[in-house]
Symmetry: D3
Subunit: 233 residues, 6 copies
């Protein structure tokens, strides 16, 4: 039942974060072997929201944002707050005032497996948030929690200092230890995809150059000219 706030965490290399952020969620998720994606219910509050940075994790009682307040002073510029609750909640635990405080400390964004409010103001401030819900429901400040412990956020395991990448497609987490390799793999994937893009643009079929036509044959899929059974209703 003991709770703690961990002041110092290890952060990944800034260049690595930059590469991952520019690669984007879908590419990074593929580059690390289709892992680390948060559940698709995590949506940005404005369509152009896009961010990458190290995670500072926060675990709260549902309906209580005390630990978010407690987390701000341990953040470094560029960090991303990752907030979870000990059971499911959609309460609006974060609003414009906390956004102002975050920006004053250089915090780059928020991933919250709960609700957010003052979304219009946060969008105007360009403070990017990915949340489960938009809700004005206010919260109390009465129960202990933790800062910078490993958490499960929207189905993904996140350790403090892991890289968070978030854009219109959602949110992915990259473990700090493998971030460098994943950044490299992401760049390779981008190069490869650019070659595929060129070929697809000319009308060439993925079916052919990914070798899938043979796969269809192997699986016994039959090509027929017309469906002989009468379709109907």
């Amino acid at each position: 039942m003991s709770h703690k706030i961990v002041r110092r965490i290890q952060r990944p290399n800034a260049e690595t974060i930059k590469i991952l952020g520019s690669a984007g969620v879908a590419t990074v998720h593929e580059a690390q072997g289709r892992s680390g994606l948060l559940r698709p219910y995590m949506r940005p509050i404005y369509p152009t929201a896009r961010v990458a940075g190290p995670a500072v994790t926060v675990s709260c009682q549902p309906g209580d944002n005390l630990m978010i307040h407690a987390s701000i002073e341990v953040c470094h510029p560029g960090d991303i707050l990752v907030v979870v609750t000990t059971s499911e909640s959609t309460d609006g635990m974060f609003g414009e005032l906390l956004g102002v405080s975050c920006q004053a400390h250089g915090i780059a964004g928020l991933i919250i497996d709960a609700g957010v409010r003052d979304t219009a103001e946060l969008a105007t401030m360009s403070f990017p948030v990915w949340a489960k819900a938009v809700s004005a429901q206010g919260t109390v400040k009465g129960t202990a929690g933790d800062v910078n412990i490993p958490v499960v956020c929207a189905g993904a395991m996140i350790n403090p200092g892991d890289v968070i990448v978030a854009d219109a497609d959602g949110v992915v987490v990259v473990p700090r230890e493998t971030a460098g390799q994943v950044a490299q793999a992401s760049e390779q994937r981008i190069a490869k995809e650019e070659r595929s893009r060129q070929r697809l643009r000319t009308g060439e079929l993925g079916l052919d150059f990914y070798g899938l036509r043979a796969k269809l044959v192997e699986l016994g899929v039959e090509f027929v000219d017309e469906d002989t059974k009468t379709a109907g209703r």
Copy 2:
């Protein structure tokens, strides 16, 4: 089983409505003691939708919009239609033609715990709607219901003449009887928040000026420099 349409309701003071509307949902919800918020599944059909006004309530059979048609003539300019169904439904009970009719009678907006359609047209007309779903599903006009009776809408109790405030954060209801006090409390809250905003902008921590640091100590939350346990995967 008897149903009725109540023609005359009491409405709150216009100035009160104006103050509440300009304060917005999150502030008003806090100002009245964190009550009156509708469930967060109620979303605006366009991001800049924002309205405040007295509720004219409508209770319908699911899939049947007869009573919406019946409600329009009892509305006054500035009123907001609040539509509920006797069991859950996402059918598109309201569309552009009803929007045209509403605007012709000065109705300021719609809160519907069901579906809405013609959303592109309604957005173009600047007729704000908060709904549970966007659905083109058409409805019949065959079953009796009520106008201007107390209703439960998206989890909140709403009496005719209560003030509805709605914006990007959702929808809140303020009882007519306490609207004046809540408007006053909202103004005070805005002033207080502005003072907090100034301090937060300079980097001061909410943790300090809300006195939460003492709370953490009281709750036994420990500050540690580093997590001695090896995190991993």
Copy 3:
């Protein structure tokens, strides 16, 4: 367990498709007797997305997009891909590269009862997609499926060659056999709605010119001036 790809399907008349597309989802759904609407969880990835065209249907294993690759070469310009999975899934089975390939073959849009990714890129390309979820979750290419068989998509029965109409209100399917009649009925409905719009704009009530006032009486709905019961909380 045998699977097939049907190369040739019958398509409806281009003029019919054009009329249905310009009428839009809500009108077409009403014009064919309030049928054919897909579940309202099917949402466009950008607000101005709008399309109409013949369906090329694709049935996939969840988490496997092999058959989408297989479907592209049987499409004609103007066709719309309709993708379903054999059990529920939100995986991102379609992204920007497939979008490029689709556009190279003139495919006009995608209806997918699963997830989509690279939504920002697809919006920039103006490739319209209606999906159940936005998800970067990658997929494999290992299990057989079918192209151009009858499918159930988001609760609606769709045969290859049926007309898909999709806009901000959702997606509706019109059987190929009755598409001509429905197009005609849609035009009539538009004309009739324009007449209603004119009358509603002047403040006339639908209650009166749809004859609903008599209906209220028949149903025993009572008009009262004031609610004599004290409302309260």
Copy 4:
């Protein structure tokens, strides 16, 4: 923001409660004009659970059961606790120890729009509970709430002293003021249904003795011997 515990409430007549309880949820709901039903997600924790009694209402912060503890001393034997939270929660706010305490005070059952735990023990004790979820998630005791104020529970408005009727079909609330009439109407309905049951048992059709055949004709439903269109897949 002020909170209160109301000690004295008016309760309905014991005979009325007995009649309503023996009539059951479906009959009572129909007898009062198809109103008062709680959302169908409210399920009993064991199949034979069945109860009727006056409501003592409790409003709690999500994840906090302080006010349940506070409510027990204001209950009379036969009362039913009706517990709601100020925003959605599935936490297990009530378990076996509270059940023991309730039974010591003669409380007849629990309706909770949140979670319950120790369900095996509660079933063994024959303490009936209708809940939104079964969850062992523990709760704190730190935030004020209210006892015996009007609440919205699972979509229904409930005042203290209203009659709760609950069985395998769910939960219905009957306003205290009209409970006597509804009890009478329930008895009439039971008698009428018994007559229908006798006729249906002999093979007579509801279509005939409810006069629905004429309704079908009026609505233009056509009887055809065979579907001339070829059904298929």
Copy 5:
């Protein structure tokens, strides 16, 4: 917009139905190539419910059970009612009186993509029902619908006369045209599974006798004795 009741449908062979019913849902679903399963939200109202028979299909307006009444006289003994609504609904469209009427006409069970009520009474009568929800919510009888047209029920396409098989695992539909083949394939599968069961009981591994060990190697899955990375929290 025209609606019809089709009196005569073709039914499959009784022996075929018997075989499919005794094979059960999981076996039949596999035997026909993993197709025809209804969504898993369709649950039996009592655990031992089990039935097989030809489908008589019914399409209703949500919240309106007129067409269920209209369907009973076209049923033959052994038939199963399959009820859908034109948009999603959980209303309790079917209860004990309709169950009595069904049993008087030899109807063997009900599949309803909506709600059911009087579940305790229906269980006592041994009238098996698979439904989306248990709800006492009553319905009206005012809008036309259809009997014995192709329908989509819980995501599956069902034609009148198709075989419905339902048990504790859910509901599967077998097209009438292929029911004989599927019955045969089901019997073969049962025999094959019995041989597997014998081997598994002795401790033999499916990994070996299904040849999956080679598959793991082919996919590059590595066997390691211990995880060298330190797991932690």
Copy 6:
């Protein structure tokens, strides 16, 4: 993208497991500081299901049960399979034949964040399963995954060898490293609860002996004899 099967894991003490299992989910969850609970959607397939044991973890592609087959030979008697998928799925990945195989190897139960089938047969065999869904949907065996890596299951982080405790209230995980302490704390809690139970049975109030009456005063909750506001509808 590399996948592995870890053959050897550390398991907790048998006596510790026995104590945790007999304490049950709610007690263990409290004893470890209200942590480790899986989401409440994880439900037992029969009401008396109850089990405790070390976790063998399995990560699968959705709709693919290859890795479940691969996991059986690394299990020891008493182990519990914990199965997750890389994205959400309700497919029936586990049925009676796998249950027979598990029992032949002494496996004590299954926790699966997906679907299960043959539930009647598994109940008859007394093989306890907690699952997200009951579904007959069959699966393929074509994509690599992992055995005995850390996983997130229904929102909880689980390492191989952690203790799983499951009963009618759901599922809780206890980290192997702290299992001994949690077992001890559970025993203390049981003793303390027995003392509370004795007092509650006599009618003493938790409000008094937990000291909550003072808390109510501190929070400003007011006791009033009657609600002076007129409640109504």
